[in-house]
Every structure is written in C-alpha cells, then in structure tokens.
Chain length 198, copies 2
Amino acid sequence: MTLELAILGVLAGGELHGYEVKKRIQELPGGILRASFGSLYPALGRLEDRELVKAAEPEARPRVNVPLSGSLSGEAAIFRSRRTKAPRSGRRKKVYAISDTGRDHLEELLVADITDDRAFPLQVAFCAHLPAATRRKLFERRRNHIAERLAQRSSPTDIDFYQQALLERHGDSLATDLAWLDRLIEHEQHPDPTGGKK
Amino acid sequence: MTLELAILGVLAGGELHGYEVKKRIQELPGGILRASFGSLYPALGRLEDRELVKAAEPEARPRVNVPLSGSLSGEAAIFRSRRTKAPRSGRRKKVYAISDTGRDHLEELLVADITDDRAFPLQVAFCAHLPAATRRKLFERRRNHIAERLAQRSSPTDIDFYQQALLERHGDSLATDLAWLDRLIEHEQHPDPTGGKK
DNA sequence: GTCATCATGTAAGCCGTTACATGATTGC
DNA sequence: GCAATCATGTAACGGCTTACATGATGAC
C-alpha cells in the first residue's frame, strides 16, 4: 500500500518507465522507501490491472521531446541526444502514466487516516497534489495524533534502564515531530509566494 | 528477524507462554513492534525447530512458585492463587524458555550491524543482556552511523517544498537521535550505581 | 450458565526480498 | 567488440496480516 502510494505519487509528476520510477522513489527525501525491482514491477502490474496506471510502449516512433530532464542538466541532455545516431528518447520500453481514476485513488491514499508511521512521510511527499484545505486537514490530523501519543506514552513500571531510555527517545522523537508539524501548519496559514504548489 | 529478536529478548528475562510473550512485546516502550498471534506462534514454532527456545507444557503437576510476578504485585498474585480452588500457576499450556544456543543467538542479534532502523530500538530494549563493553560499542557504532547519515543527507535539487520539509524533518530526527545517543554513551562512561544491569 | 478473557493454533492471501534470466544501449 | 549501465521481468521463498476455529478459566 505504501509502495502503491509512492508509485502513483511519482507518476502524478509525469510519465516514466519503471526503472525511473524506482530511482525517483529511492531519491525521496529521508530514504522513506527502498523499492526493489522484484516488488516494483509486480506492483506496477497490479496497478495496471486495476487501471490506475496505463502503460504504453513507444513503437517505431519515439516521442521527440522529453519534458522531464531528470538528473542531467538540459543542455547536456540535448547535446547527448544530438550526438547519438538513433533518435532515442532514452526510453526503450514501457512508459507508465497515471490515469484519471489513478489520480482519484492517489488523492484517497493521500488523505487516508494512517496507522502506519511510514505512510505519513509519503503522504507529505506528494501532498502538493492536494487542495490546500485538504492538505491542512491532513497535517492537523497528524498533529493531533502525535500530540495524543505524546500525552499517553507509558510503559510498565518495573522497567529496565535501557527501556526507560527508549521511552525517553520516543518522547523526544514525538516532540521533534510535533514541532516540525507546527511549522508546517504555520506555513500553510501564511502561504509563501515563492514555494507554493510545485 | 526483528520478531525473532523480540521473542528471544523477552524470553531472556524469564520463561513465559506465548500469550504473555505477545503482551510483553507490545508493551515495549515506544510501540516498537506490534505482533499478532498469526505471526507470533509460527515464529515461536520456528525458534523451537531451531532449538533456540524450548517449550515445556506443565503436565498434571504444575510448578508451585512462579518467579516472575508479572504486572501484578506479588501479594495480590499470592492472594489470587490462594483464593482459587485449583492449584494453578496461571499457565495452562506451553511455557517457552530460551536455550543456551538461544542466548548465544540473541547476543549475535543484539550486536548485529543493522540497516533496518526498526531493529536498533529492539537491540537497545534488550541490551542489558550484553556485556558493558559490547553494549558501548553498539551505541557508538549507531552514533557514527547516524552522524554519517546526518552529514550526507541530500536530495535532487529540483525538489518540491513539501519534500524539502521532509528533508528538514529527517535532519531534525537524526539530530534528536544523535543527542539521545550521546546521552546514552555518556551514561555508559559514568556507570550509575542505581540503575545498572537489570 | 454465560460472558469476557486467556490461550493456542491454522489457512489464505498478499507482498516483499533475493536471485536469476534476458536483452538493449552507450562509452571506450 | 566489450563492459557497464539501463531496463524489464520471473521464480522461490519467507513472513506478516486477517480471519477463522477451538477450548479453558474465572467472574458474576
């Protein structure tokens, strides 16, 4: 489910082939998710079966301009593609694109109430695709959730020193997260002209 | 593998039946691991096959004194067991105990170099079973690992505002963890007479 | 005697990991 | 031509989740 969210999220930013999808997912900040081919391709297949993404393999006529420059600078990429004989686009095989139902599903996943802590960072990573009001609700819901956990964190009384330390760490980590969420929410309330919506 | 560590860890503190093992694991500080019966019992079975734990079901003659008072205070527990007719020990079925090879294996797991971040808290939770020197090494290795991640955290340049925020959060979280580890290591160097080794 | 809790397990399905197999493209 | 990288997949295996089945004990 988290992989599904990640795939739909990166594809919402533009069509890509599987290999690139994997790279994008791995490049997400904080090392949120590590995807292997063995999980990625089957996941893409499942998404295709459910028609949340559509795959198209460019036949004899490859598309000319590639809107996504990737990690190379634009000029270098152009130089490179001029230099080679074949008019390649850099894509040989299946190109995946998110469908309309896929976009709907992505939005559902982005606002889903999460228990798994690994899901929330992914929701943040792609929340630019959410309307501002929904995004703010997502952040506030999370904030409340974290605040609640901070309030009711507890353990058995006969606890070991190292387990006490773990409990302390847990508290620290929740507090850090809470402060971060407060900053995020603050930012939502004072929309910054420079770094808006992608 | 993390479940295996958790099971051996709690059993290293005394023999328990499966149901109790699950409760102990869930009670670990910070909600490190949530185990379900569907994963716990098979895992116990595997550990038994590998002779890392041994299971004994108390036959007609239940053991008289229970060394582990559990969450009830000793007096209340005694009162309770007196009150009931049958001389039960509170255990009806399989009682699991860690074996000598199990203890060796636990120690290996406790000092194993981890990539999975979920494993380290478990190592800390049970590191009281480690010799002080080994424990300190474990902490220092982790400290270095976190410091390294803090130094080289990076992302593609064309990053979204929310992904920047995630990156920032990642940094905050690493810094918090680093500070916590420093405190832990500090404590190891000035051994405290009160809260030593369990 | 009935209900909640304690207690142990099995089965189906899903998903992820690792390893393997294959082939195209590009740089040198 | 050859090696590295890009690129797509399959197969085996293991383990986790959820749901189901079963039964004992204790409280009332």
